[in-house]
């Protein structure tokens, strides 16, 4: 078990698409343990993707179970070869990234997605998710495609409102 080094933009490896995982062996499981440990070492990180530790494989973790302000979620997700099969709606939200320290910005994401992915035993799962979890998954899959949230920044003026807590 080890905390891996997180690489930062402008490291080119963050801008490259990752390869499909074909070998579901013990080294994959070992890597998942290390990747999770690395996520937990980052301040408040709800997700991490393999390219962020310099590994060009389609592997990501998303976990929204420990948020201070709870949100709907599907538990701790270890995602191998994740794919989004449906997108619906749009929502603006603020994002930051372990690979881009000291900056957060507004990004528009699909509000609702259908996601399918394999677990470490190569079994497929598929479900629909929305809101914050959908945002986190889209952020991670972007990493697997060599995209950063910086590629999707929108101006503060591009106001697509989120759920309002207060409307006078």
């Amino acid at each position: 078990m080890a905390v891996l080094e997180i690489i930062h933009y402008p490291d080119d490896r963050l801008k490259q698409a990752s390869d499909t995982v074909t070998l579901f062996d013990q080294s994959l499981k070992d890597f998942l343990v290390d990747l999770e440990e690395t996520r937990l070492s980052g301040p408040g990180a709800v997700g991490i993707a393999a390219p962020q530790v310099g590994v060009a494989k389609r592997i990501a973790i998303v976990d929204l179970t420990e948020l201070k302000k709870p949100v709907d979620n599907h538990g701790h997700l270890l995602m191998i070869n994740p794919e989004i099969t449906q997108w619906q709606g749009m929502e603006k939200g603020r994002e930051g990234c372990l690979s881009v320290p000291d900056f957060t910005g507004n990004v528009i994401r699909a509000e609702k997605i259908t996601i399918r992915f394999q677990n470490s035993e190569a079994q497929w799962a598929e479900f629909e998710t929305r809101g914050y979890e959908a945002r986190a998954i889209q952020h991670e899959i972007d990493h697997l495609d060599g995209m950063l949230f910086l590629d999707r920044l929108v101006s503060r003026r591009a106001d697509l409102f989120q759920r309002k807590v207060y409307k006078k």
Partner: protein, 170 residues
């Protein structure tokens, strides 16, 4: 020893002001930090944090300011930290234009713990029925509920939306 200064430049809007000013700074090896630049009315306003080797920025920018008729103001030794304060709430306000709307809203929200990080307002609507629109990003230091409560006391006819910002880190 390098230091930070905050430059404010304002003048009539015209083509390529940003390019002209930033070129002079770049040629003198001044580094840019945060900047905010926008057209306001017929003017163009620029605020730039600049890191430099204790240069005479007024002298450096004199030619370009004269040529483009820009007013220049320099504040030295502004907070040298680069850490941005993170907003946790987004507030939009709009309503029929009347005097004191910004003062009323911001003072009531300030009393409820709002620290404004970024505020922008615009005038819109028709000539005889103008409306006022304001967007704020800030920190709710006493929580979003305190702001919601304070908003109850804001005059009728002012629409207010308070949206928490939950920044995703991944």
């Amino acid at each position: 020893m390098k230091k930070w200064s905050l430059l404010t430049l304002v003048g009539a809007d015209q083509t390529a002001i940003v390019a002209a000013v930033t070129r002079v700074l770049a040629e003198a090896d001044c580094e840019l930090g945060e900047t905010s630049m926008m057209r306001m009315g017929g003017s163009f306003a620029m605020m730039l944090r600049v890191r430099h080797e204790n240069q005479d920025l007024a002298a450096l920018l004199k030619d370009v300011c004269d040529r483009l008729s820009l007013h220049l103001h320099i504040d030295d030794d502004v907070d040298s930290s680069n850490a941005a304060i993170e907003p946790d709430v987004n507030i939009t306000v709009y309503g029929a234009d009347r005097s004191g709307i910004v003062a009323e809203v911001t003072s009531k929200l300030a009393d409820a713990g709002l620290n404004i990080i970024d505020l922008e307002t615009a005038l819109a609507g028709t000539k005889d029925k103008p409306i006022y629109i304001m967007t704020i990003e800030g920190q709710a230091r006493q929580g979003v509920d305190a702001l919601t409560k304070a908003a109850e006391s804001i005059s009728d006819g002012v629409e207010l939306n308070i949206i928490p910002i939950q920044t995703l880190r991944a």
